[in-house]
């Protein structure tokens, strides 16, 4: 994406992250997006006439904590993964206190992969 296509719509003041309350800041943006989805008359300078402009939000690009704020599925604690959702096999480490996904990746391998039957290397 180059500079002429960039478009600053919103600045959220600091110093703390708004966390889930980011929705409050997004309200005006959503309102405008809803309006733009139905279309608004806009002037086209090259054709010198009005046209109906419609806008859709295609996707958001964000980092992982922000993912939780935008999607509503919190990306912390044990159920942080948005693909496993509540099938996650993560657990909490006793002394580290952090959530670990240790040895929960073999389940996505194909069924006949040799790693699945390997009892020694993954313990």
């Amino acid at each position: 994406m180059t500079t002429p296509f960039m478009f600053l719509t919103l600045i959220i003041p600091g110093p703390h992250s708004p966390k889930g309350k980011i929705d409050v800041y997004l309200q005006p943006l959503i309102e405008k997006l809803k309006q733009l989805w139905n279309g608004v008359l806009t002037y086209d300078i090259s054709r010198k006439q009005n046209f109906m402009m419609k806008v859709a939000l295609m996707w958001t690009i964000n980092d992982f904590p922000e993912y939780g704020m935008l999607s509503g599925w919190s990306t912390s604690e044990r159920l942080a993964c948005l693909y496993c959702m509540n099938q996650s096999k993560a657990f909490r480490l006793k002394s580290g206190g952090k959530v670990s996904w240790f040895d929960s990746h073999r389940q996505i391998l194909p069924l006949n992969h040799s790693f699945r039957r390997n009892k020694n290397a993954f313990y």
């Binding site: 889930g20 309350k21 929705d23 409050v24 997004l26 309200q27 959503i30 997006l33 809803k34 989805w37 859709a56 939000l57 295609m58 996707w59 958001t60 690009i61 964000n62 980092d63 992982f64 993912y67 939780g68 935008l70 999607s71 509503g72 599925w73 919190s74 990306t75 604690e77 044990r78 159920l79 942080a80 959702m85 509540n86 480490l93 006793k94 002394s95 580290g96 206190g97 670990s100 240790f102 040895d103 990746h105 073999r106 996505i108 391998l109 194909p110 992969h113 790693f115 993954f122 313990y123």
Partner: protein, 218 residues
């Protein structure tokens, strides 16, 4: 999950703009929803195929930081700290990595095989600081190296990107093969992911390979 399936799960949660912050029933146990996201107000959000994307450069930087700090064994930044070693004996059968209590009462943290020795670290940092890159390819890597403290600091996203994709397999070639191999594959994965032309069959292959790589890391 498709948008409609998600909507089924989520439609009865209140919006944060209407009721303020609250805790949903069963949060952290059966689900992790905190709210109904404001984006669901958009009429087309349910049928949208890709709703949220992760920033690759940012993820790459985090992965690089963790891998590099662990292999270089930088104090307070390595993921291989004392608490991890304490947890190790609960879940993992690696006796040689567990903490050992010395006769004097001190606790010894044995050196892991994925950590470079001090001489090797010196060689690596010296090599990075003497590297010459093509014009406009990367910023001057020498500025990030602190030879006395054996640290890299002040790296920007793009510097991590260059180091991760191009230099990591070379930097860590002193490691034993079974450690070096997954790291190199990880580096290759990010390199392929960031290339300008992406082909679908390549992506499928990469998807398969990266699962194997994650398993190898364990």
């Amino acid at each position: 999950m498709t948008g409609n399936e998600l909507w089924e799960q989520i439609h009865f949660f209140p919006k944060i703009t209407e009721v303020g912050p609250y805790i949903c029933d069963g949060h952290g146990k059966s689900h992790n929803w905190t709210k109904q996201s404001t984006f669901w107000e958009l009429p087309y959000w349910k049928t949208n195929l890709i709703r949220h994307n992760l920033d690759v450069m940012h993820v790459e930087k985090n992965v690089f930081d963790n891998v590099f700090n662990t292999v270089m064994d930088i104090k307070d930044k390595t993921r291989d700290n004392v608490k991890v070693r304490m947890d190790l004996k609960e879940y993992y059968r690696h006796r040689e990595l567990e903490l050992q209590v010395q006769p004097s009462g001190k606790v010894l943290k044995p050196k892991a095989k994925f950590v470079l020795s001090n001489e090797q670290k010196n060689v690596v940092y010296k090599w990075i600081s003497e590297l010459k890159m093509p014009d406009g390819y990367a910023s001057n890597l020498r500025r990030f190296v602190n030879l006395d403290q054996r640290k890299l600091f002040g790296m920007k996203n793009h510097d991590c990107h260059v180091l991760m994709e191009m230099l990591l397999p070379i930097v860590f070639c002193a490691l034993p093969y079974q450690v070096w191999n997954p790291i190199a594959e990880l580096s290759k994965f990010f390199k392929d992911l960031c290339s300008t032309i992406l082909r679908v069959d390549d992506l499928l292959l990469m998807e398969k390979n990266i699962i194997i790589t994650t398993c190898k890391l364990e």
